[in-house]
């Protein structure tokens, strides 16, 4: 048994080392390096991002979504340096069912990380945000009652969790809305421009592909409020694939899902789950870890597939 365990650990390390890529953003240019050459794991403060667990989904290409979420969590638990906290960028569940929330909370809870959630559109299908807040934002000081958005500080970084999935309008993209934007303005006013900002929300805060709804209508207003800060990192989910973009001082990043991949923008008739061979599935699912580099305030993001 001990041998099995250590072999498994060794395999996981190999997977991690063999497939991880570190993204460092320096001088506005993202640079990819294999994890073996990265310094990320030795830095002081790191956190991880998981996204789009979609507990409740059970179709081709993934009939065991709890299993792949567990693999992602196991990967994070096995990291050489324990992350300070975890962000979940939404679509925890597939149909907002209490049983789906239960399963997700149970699996994610096994990591023992301090975890901060924002909702995806699949999490607010029944009774709006109330059940999600009750389950995943309990004790959180809400930006506005029932809004499912908030902020907190950790190790000098200001984290802002936004909700861009409520009350979506016909023909529109994701939206933050006036009340949330007013709160955001208040939230960041008076903060030093040198404080690193990490924004996390479900739908991308830049327009990835409007015909599939992959963007947020009023994201420019949010980014304008953050424009004076020297380091802004925006972490999103929703599109089930890694995409990166740097615009001025803002680095945008979307994470893989732990449930199923989606096609690259515009490459398929619709954004439905991408069918892949069972042997390939884990190579297109994954998790991300982010390291705050204290010397220059740039963040390094490592995306790691499950296999």
């Amino acid at each position: 048994m001990a041998e099995l365990k250590s072999r498994r650990a060794a395999l996981e390390c190999m997977l991690w080392a063999g497939t991880g890529v570190v993204w460092t953003v320096a001088g506005g240019i993202p640079r990819g390096r294999l994890i073996g050459t990265a310094e990320a794991a030795t830095r002081d403060f790191s956190f991880v991002q998981i996204s789009d667990s979609h507990i409740g989904f059970s179709h081709d290409p993934n009939m065991d979504v709890p299993g792949t979420l567990k693999s992602g969590i196991d990967l994070l638990k096995a990291m050489p340096k324990r992350p300070s906290l975890m962000l979940h960028t939404g679509d925890v569940s597939h149909l907002s069912k209490p049983s789906e929330f239960d399963t997700a909370a149970q699996i994610i809870g096994t990591a023992g990380f301090e975890t901060h959630y924002v909702p995806g559109e699949h999490d607010v299908l029944i009774d709006e945000t109330a059940p999600f807040i009750e389950r995943f934002q309990k004790g959180v000081k809400q930006g506005n009652a029932g809004g499912a958005y908030y902020s907190f500080d950790n190790s000098g970084v200001h984290f802002i969790g936004l909700n861009n999935v409520s009350n979506l309008k016909a023909g529109g993209l994701g939206q933050l809305g006036d009340a949330q934007l007013a709160w955001l303005q208040d939230d960041v006013s008076g903060r030093s421009a040198s404080q690193p900002i990490v924004v996390f929300a479900h739908i991308p805060l830049w327009t990835v592909y409007a015909p599939w709804g992959w963007g947020t209508d009023d994201s420019a207003r949010a980014l304008a409020l953050l424009s004076r800060f020297g380091s802004v990192t925006v972490l999103n989910g929703h599109i089930h694939q890694v995409l990166q973009k740097v615009e001025g001082k803002v680095a945008f990043h979307t994470a893989r899902s732990t449930a199923f991949p989606q096609p690259a923008p515009g490459t398929a008739p619709s954004a439905g789950p991408m069918k892949v061979d069972p042997g390939q599935l884990r190579s297109v699912l994954g998790v991300a870890s982010i390291t705050v580099v204290p010397t220059d305030a740039h963040l390094a993001i490592i995306d790691t597939p499950l296999a």
């Binding site: 559109e121 699949h122 299908l125 016909a170 023909g171 993209l173 008739p269 619709s270």
Partner: protein, 114 residues
């Protein structure tokens, strides 16, 4: 166009010969209609029906969708429809009823009730 008219003429003549059977079929057609969802698209995107028609929406995607009225407040809103789930609404009054999927708001359709 000419061919189309001719075909319609043949259909009408055949139907006239069927008598009562035709009336039954027509009554049924007026009372029920359907819209399907495939590849994040409502089909037909615009459906024209007679007042009193019950329209059934079926989700054939492997991702959930909703049928949400565009009116404020919404005239109808389905629960999330998982694969093969259906939602029915009877359109009693003439008018144009726009709807969308509240999960994927770029998905839009309308029902014209005459």
């Amino acid at each position: 166009m000419r061919t189309h008219l001719t075909r319609r003429g043949v259909v009408a003549a055949t139907a006239a010969g069927l008598g009562l059977a035709l009336i039954t079929v027509r009554a049924k057609a007026a009372a029920n209609a359907s819209v399907t969802i495939d590849n994040f698209t409502f089909s037909p995107q615009t459906l024209t029906v007679a007042a009193g028609t019950k329209v059934t929406f079926t989700n054939q995607d492997d991702i959930p969708h909703t049928i949400t009225s565009d009116a404020s407040p919404p005239l109808f809103k389905s629960p999330p429809l998982d694969t093969d789930d259906t939602f029915a609404f009877t359109f009693a009054t003439p008018g144009t009823y726009a709807y969308f999927c509240s999960l994927h708001p770029h998905m839009q359709g309308s029902v014209i009730v005459q």
